[in-house]
């Protein structure tokens, strides 16, 4: 069934190219591409092929600050023509809808209904019609069960992306542009969003252009794959173009080499010396005292009846004598052991406190209740509770790699970034050289960390933490949004570390990744319900 109000858009690029202001090389050049109304296209290609630039141009937002790599694009350079239905995208507000990667920035307003209405309001649609569209769009993306006043901050990542889709649908665009819409989502969220997009396309018949590394997710939904290559003066920007199966067959090796997740291909990784990826080496369940891995070494770190929360304890009011009120935990009663040379994989549904647990274990958050204790082999005189350690003591013992590498950058140069830990400690600078080599960062030593690609940032963030030579390495979703090459490198590198005796704790949804590492699995249950009455009268807010 097709809603008559949506007119699918046609795209036509003829010799199109774009150079961002202040760059010598164009992001895209010589692009020739025709997409007919209603076609569904998956755009692939190595990073730097200009996929995001093309999507932003089609959305009519290229040249604004915030477009990839752009500062002030006043002196940016456009060549050739890029047209939607024969006219410039910029002149047709609302003809195309764009969804980006970071769910937090896809939400504009704080109430569900308002956020969906926002785009339609901007297009000056009549109010009665807007509310009709809001109800329909929320229904289409599967969010109709929530009230219109529902706070958008309370939504999960997958729900936020579906909300963004509803906001786009309410504009009745003829073209959907999705820029890695599921890269920041867990597996359940990925399917939620993919299925919602599929339903909406079936209903409206709109044209789709999606950029995504994980081909398997979108392969059955699209009817054409276009592979782009970095622009040059002589070659065409389009490397391959055709039906999914044919393109995947023709370009399989090239795509695998470029780090694309090709269906049915698990990148080769180094096998663990023992207890690792031996085919059925799925992580063992339970938290018993005996090591799951016979090669595992001594106990380094233990959590006992641990409750975790990101909130700080509050002080009760005057009437209650300013007593300490512990925060409501997101997860309680966790018991786990970390052993030298053994992997511990923390899994569980969204909101079950996996990351909070990892941060508490790593001495970055105080336990809400229960204890985290370091064995003498790890603490080496620094005290039992890692949270009380000084920062310098901590990094030489427990290293933590955050999900977002940029959060951990503290200098403006890759080499300084790597030297930072050893300099703090006054030792271990010689190890940096080895890490530069091993994680292929040697050519980037003078670059600014913020300008690196996603994969390079991930490799750097792991290297910087390891430069301080910790005995325990904690990683929060290390493989999120990574291409297949970075994934394989990371998994192989960690398997080497494990065999060398480092303990690796990783929070992950990635079953293939934890299979490479082997070891033990700690599965956290559904989140604890929010306790009512937390803001009870007499409790002073900070």
């Amino acid at each position: 069934m097709t809603t008559p109000e949506v007119r699918p858009a046609a795209i036509s690029a003829r010799g199109w190219g774009w150079r961002h202001a202040g760059r010598s090389r164009p992001a895209v050049s010589g692009l020739d591409l025709e997409i007919s109304p209603g076609e569904r296209v998956l755009l692939l290609g190595p990073s730097g092929a200009g996929k995001s630039t093309l999507l932003h141009a089609l959305a009519g937002v290229l040249g604004d600050s915030g477009a990839p790599g752009a500062g002030d694009d006043a002196d940016a350079d456009e060549t050739g023509a890029l047209l939607i239905d024969g006219a410039a995208p910029r002149a047709q507000r609302g003809r195309a809808g764009l969804m980006q990667q970071d769910p937090e920035t896809q939400v504009v307003l704080s109430r569900l209904g308002d956020d969906v209405a926002f785009g339609a309001e901007n297009l000056a649609v009549a109010p009665a019609e807007i509310w009709r569209r809001v109800a329909e769009a929320l229904d289409d993306v599967g969010l109709a069960g929530l009230p219109l006043e529902h706070p958008t901050s309370a939504l999960s990542g997958g729900q936020k992306q579906r909300l963004a889709l509803a906001g786009i649908l309410a504009m009745r665009p003829g073209l959907l542009l999705l820029d890695e819409p599921t890269a920041n989502l867990d597996p359940a969220g990925v399917l939620e969003v993919r299925d919602a997009v599929g339903r909406c396309l079936d209903k409206t018949g709109a044209t789709l252009v999606v950029v995504e590394h994980r081909v398997a997710v979108w392969k059955d939904l699209v009817d054409r794959i276009v592979v782009l290559q970095p622009g040059s003066a002589t070659e065409s920007a389009v490397l391959l173009d055709g039906p999914p199966d044919r393109v995947l067959e023709q370009a399989r090796d090239m795509l695998i080499a470029a780090g694309v997740w090709v269906p049915g291909h698990v990148p080769a990784t180094r096998a663990r010396a023992a207890g690792g990826a031996d085919g059925q080496g799925a992580p063992g369940q339970g938290t018993g005292d005996t090591p799951a891995d016979p090669a595992a070494g001594g106990l380094l770190l233990a959590a006992e009846k641990l409750s975790v929360s990101r909130e700080r304890p509050r002080r009760a009011g005057l009437l209650k004598g300013f007593g300490r009120i512990p925060p409501a935990p997101v997860q309680a009663g966790i018991t786990a052991q970390v052993r030298a040379g053994e992997a511990l994989t923390v899994t569980g549904p969204n909101g079950s406190g996996k990351s909070t647990f990892a941060l508490t274990l790593a001495g970055l958050l105080p336990p809400a209740a229960g204890t985290v204790s370091a064995a003498t082999e790890l603490s080496r005189g620094a005290g039992i509770d890692p949270y009380t350690w000084k920062a310098q003591q901590l990094i030489a013992r427990i290293g933590t790699v955050f999900q977002e590498p940029e959060h951990q950058f503290v200098t403006g140069r890759v080499l300084d970034e790597l030297m930072f830990g050893p300099r703090q400690l006054g030792r271990g600078e010689e190890r940096v050289d080895e890490l530069l080599e091993r994680l292929r960062l040697r050519d980037l030593v003078d670059a600014n960390p913020y300008t690196l690609s996603g994969g390079e940032k991930r490799r750097l963030s792991v290297a910087t933490v390891l430069a301080a030579h910790p005995q325990v390495l904690v990683l929060d979703e290390p493989t999120f949004g990574q291409d297949a090459n970075t994934w394989a490198e990371l998994a192989s590198f960690l398997s080497e570390l494990l065999d060398a005796g480092t303990a690796v704790v990783s929070v992950t949804h990635d079953a293939e990744f934890s299979q490479v590492l082997g070891g033990r699995e700690l599965r956290l249950g559904a989140p604890q319900p929010e306790l009512p009455g937390r803001m009870a009268p007499g409790v002073a807010a900070p």
Partner: protein, 267 residues
């Protein structure tokens, strides 16, 4: 932080009033109280404001939670006026350079009450007004430019996000060996570094949000409003209150002979 920016399930009567009407009411009360520093007008206004509490869904505990800096400032202001103002009347307490007399105590009390009477309406307004509704009224009824109003509203949502980001960046930097320990200079350096990290993230988020808004057609000359901001009969009552409360306060002060225009500076 996030809860502070929403009504959090408050369903009291005044939450249904038009934010612009409430805003005008608050301005009227503030202007009248700023004119004089006597204690009679301040306490009359304060008494009326306390009566409005239940209508705004506010309790004493909530008031303290949201308005404690203002309340504290009023108390400090009153106290320092009491000990520092020129003495007249009987001396009640004499501690060298500090002394409290009947006259200075009265002045200090007037200061405290006035501080509270001016601060409370603002807290009342905030606790019964959703920022989204305020933005609606400011753009549709006060005719402020919608680009500015909606841009501010969207940015406010990011402020809550940034509060969480601050905590994360602090932990991420500790994991790199940047401690909040050490001497004040080291601490200052660590805080500056953390602020820079937050700034980078804030700018990135803000520019991505700007792209999102632009891609949804934001920034055109004409737009419609899905929710029309309207005035109702309730708003007439709100405005009436905004006129009657300061009028009663001024009348009471005139009647008691304590009315004391600040600008004329009589002692």
């Amino acid at each position: 932080m996030r809860q502070a920016l929403t009504l959090g399930g408050n369903r009291a009567l005044l939450t249904r009033a038009n934010p612009l009407a409430k805003f005008i009411g608050v301005v009227l009360i503030t202007i009248a109280l700023a004119l004089s520093i006597d204690w009679v007008s301040a306490s009359v206004a304060l008494a009326f404001e306390l009566l409005l509490f239940p209508l705004a869904g506010l309790t004493v505990a909530l008031l303290w939670q949201r308005g404690w800096p203002l309340i504290l400032a009023a108390a400090v202001g009153g106290w320092s006026t009491a000990i520092l103002a020129p003495d007249h009347g009987r001396i009640l307490l004499d501690a060298g350079i500090w002394s409290i007399s009947e006259g200075s105590l009265q002045l200090g009390l007037g200061f405290l009450l006035r501080g509270l009477a001016i601060a409370l309406p603002a807290v009342l307004l905030m606790s019964c007004t959703d920022p989204t509704d305020l933005a609606d009224a400011l753009a549709q009824q006060a005719k402020l430019p919608h680009r500015f109003v909606l841009g501010t509203l969207a940015a406010m949502r990011l402020v809550g996000l940034m509060a969480e980001e601050w905590q994360t960046i602090g932990m991420a930097r500790r994991a790199r060996g940047v401690g909040s320990h050490g001497n004040p200079v080291q601490r200052l350096k660590a805080t500056l570094g953390q602020s820079f990290g937050l700034l980078v993230q804030a700018v990135r988020r803000a520019s991505r949000l700007a792209v999102t808004m632009e891609a949804r057609g934001f920034g055109g000359a004409r737009r419609t409003w899905a929710r029309q901001a309207t005035f109702s009969r309730l708003d007439a009552w709100v405005l009436l209150g905004g006129i009657l409360i300061p009028a009663a306060a001024v009348a009471a002060a005139l009647g008691a002979g304590t009315w004391n225009i600040v600008l004329l500076g009589q002692q």
